[in-house]
């Protein structure tokens, strides 16, 4: 539209600077990870074989991927990550849906306060919130003391360093991510729709099942993906709350890198994890698009 030079420069800056940044610091690293995942480990700096060697030409090996399929540590980690993330997502949904619904149906004055209360923990440190559960769940922690006092158990039970603790930790830290998108869809739900359903003879339970639940599906999907996707690659929670057998892929990757210092294998693990994530991400994007179209 315009030919003036500063204008053109400005246009190029707006798109160009962030574009360049992302190319260098987001896309290029991926290419490097992909490339290293096809290299052999080496003792030295950097600890992998070079891409091109004067003597041998281009060096690529699929050994790392073969190793991933052979050693069942990785299979177990991937599957366990998916299972833990899925179950934790379901638990978040079960706790988060009534909460989001309750907030959406609360008086307008209260709604913002309740929402703030949901978001507030997010602004405090994630790490410290996980740490708080270490204290809660330890042998003499509040949970065990309560159980003992209620006479439900005779002696402290081991919760910390088990899968159960990991579930609790994930649900605890990711619950706001479930509640917020659910609230957003439920709040937009036209109250008149429910009145119309009631007017047409639908009992409240029926109106909920016929109207509210189907119309909140986009929020359910969005919230579930917002919990499931980060939970899948979670590292802090399994490493602080989980036991030695709580093998989640984020933790396996971290150990492969920092403990075994096998960069090519860690890169292969990362590449496969990205591939596993592609499906839920596509689902998420489809639904958020759908949601936008529906609410338009």
């Amino acid at each position: 539209m315009t030919t003036a030079r500063p204008e053109r420069l400005w246009r190029r800056t707006v798109a160009g600077v962030p574009y360049l940044w992302l190319l260098v610091f987001f896309l290029a690293p991926f290419a490097i990870v992909l490339r290293i995942s096809f290299a052999d480990p080496l003792i030295g700096q950097p600890p992998f074989t070079p891409f091109y060697d004067e003597a041998q030409g281009i060096q690529l090996t699929a050994d790392n991927y073969r190793f991933l399929t052979e050693d069942d540590l990785y299979w177990v980690s991937y599957l366990k990550s998916v299972r833990i993330a899925a179950v934790a997502t379901l638990l978040c949904l079960l706790i988060g849906y009534p909460m989001a619904y309750g907030i959406a149906r609360a008086r307008a004055v209260w709604r913002n306060v309740l929402l703030l209360l949901v978001i507030l923990p997010f602004w405090t440190s994630f790490l410290l919130r996980v740490y708080a559960w270490m204290g809660m769940l330890s042998g003499q922690g509040v949970v065990n003391k309560t159980l003992l006092a209620l006479g439900l158990v005779d002696q402290p039970v081991q919760i910390l360093y088990t899968d159960l603790a990991v579930y609790l930790g994930i649900v605890y830290t990711y619950l706001p991510f479930m509640i917020l998108p659910l609230y957003a869809t439920l709040e937009r739900l036209d109250g008149d729709l429910l009145d119309a359903a009631a007017d047409l003879g639908g009992r409240p339970r029926q109106a909920f099942l016929d109207i509210t639940l189907p119309l909140s599906v986009p929020g359910v999907v969005a919230g579930s993906m917002l919990v499931f996707i980060p939970a899948l690659g979670e590292f802090v929670i399994p490493s602080l709350l989980g036991g030695l057998d709580t093998l989640m892929i984020g933790r396996t990757l971290y150990d492969e890198f920092f403990v075994n210092r096998d960069w090519p294998l860690a890169s292969a693990v990362a590449t496969v994890l990205v591939l596993i994530l592609v499906l839920p991400i596509v689902v998420f994007q489809r639904f958020s698009q759908l949601d936008r179209e529906v609410t338009r």
Partner: protein
């Protein structure tokens, strides 16, 4: 307001249970920061000794200062880059590579931190081998890593504001003789300033909070606060971390209270003047 006659008690108890779940662990953690005992879960009496210990722990103080510095710089740059990116997506129409651009912009939102951290480290190592930069790793590489993943969040927040903004405002400015660049500074930036502030706060918090990415791209000399906390709590519960948690919660609480007061005041004066 009571649209349905049914089960407000059910919803009410769900809310009570949910908020109890969200807040009891934090409250318990804070309570035990005042415990005199070294054994965190045995209450022996009220004491502020762990706050004293915290104040004298130079490692924690240094790490906190480093984290704040990184968070400030990375949040500022991430907001700048994120705002530019949001402008490019919403206001530049179609340009070459737009699909790739928006994909790259959204990807850090869903990328596991271990992967972001690993890949950035690989990049830094390769760059060092190729062009001799960055020499080693430390605060700078952490800052770059934090900018990269938090600019996506800043961009989302700013983009949300830009898409709901009335395009006629920009057209009106152009109609009155303003060139596109001027429109950005006269109209768009003032109107998205609150969203930029939200984006900045989000990026700041994300940076302060990050453990995994920083662990990958930091050097031996630079430990951020989460890294120090992690190395302490990995071995079990320690009371001075409880004290630190209490301090952080207090700071956040005061910040939210001030923000709320400011917003309420702004709303009041706005209403007062129009009356």
């Amino acid at each position: 307001m009571k649209r349905q006659g049914r089960s407000p008690t059910f919803l009410f108890s769900c809310l009570c249970f949910g908020f109890a779940f969200l807040y009891i662990p934090i409250l318990v953690m804070i309570a035990y920061s005042f415990n005199d005992s070294r054994l965190v879960s045995v209450w022996t009496g009220f004491s502020l000794r762990w706050y004293g210990a915290l104040w004298e722990n130079e490692q924690i103080i240094d790490a906190a200062l480093l984290s704040l510095r990184i968070a400030f710089v990375s949040a500022t740059l991430a907001t700048a880059l994120g705002t530019l990116a949001a402008l490019a997506i919403t206001r530049m129409g179609r340009f070459r590579g737009r699909t790739l651009f928006s994909g790259m912009l959204a990807a850090p939102l869903v990328m596991p931190e271990v992967i972001t951290g690993l890949s950035l480290l690989m990049l830094f190592v390769s760059l060092e081998g190729l062009i001799g930069w960055p020499l080693g790793r430390g605060a700078d590489t952490i800052t770059i890593a934090h900018i990269t993943f938090s600019m996506a969040y800043a961009a989302v927040v700013v983009q949300a504001r830009l898409t709901t903004m009335d395009r006629a405002l920009e057209e009106a400015a152009m109609d009155l003789g303003c060139r596109p660049m001027g429109v950005t500074f006269d109209i768009i930036l003032p109107l998205i300033a609150p969203a930029m502030l939200s984006g900045w706060l989000l990026a700041f918090t994300l940076s302060l909070d990050d453990l995994v990415i920083a662990s990958f791209v930091s050097g031996p000399e630079s430990s951020t606060l989460p890294m120090v906390i992690y190395s302490k709590v990995r071995l079990g519960i320690t009371p001075d971390v409880n004290a630190l948690a209490a301090v952080i919660v207090a700071i956040v609480g005061i910040g939210v209270a001030i923000a709320g007061w400011l917003m309420a005041r702004m709303a009041r004066t706005g209403a007062g003047r129009s009356a």
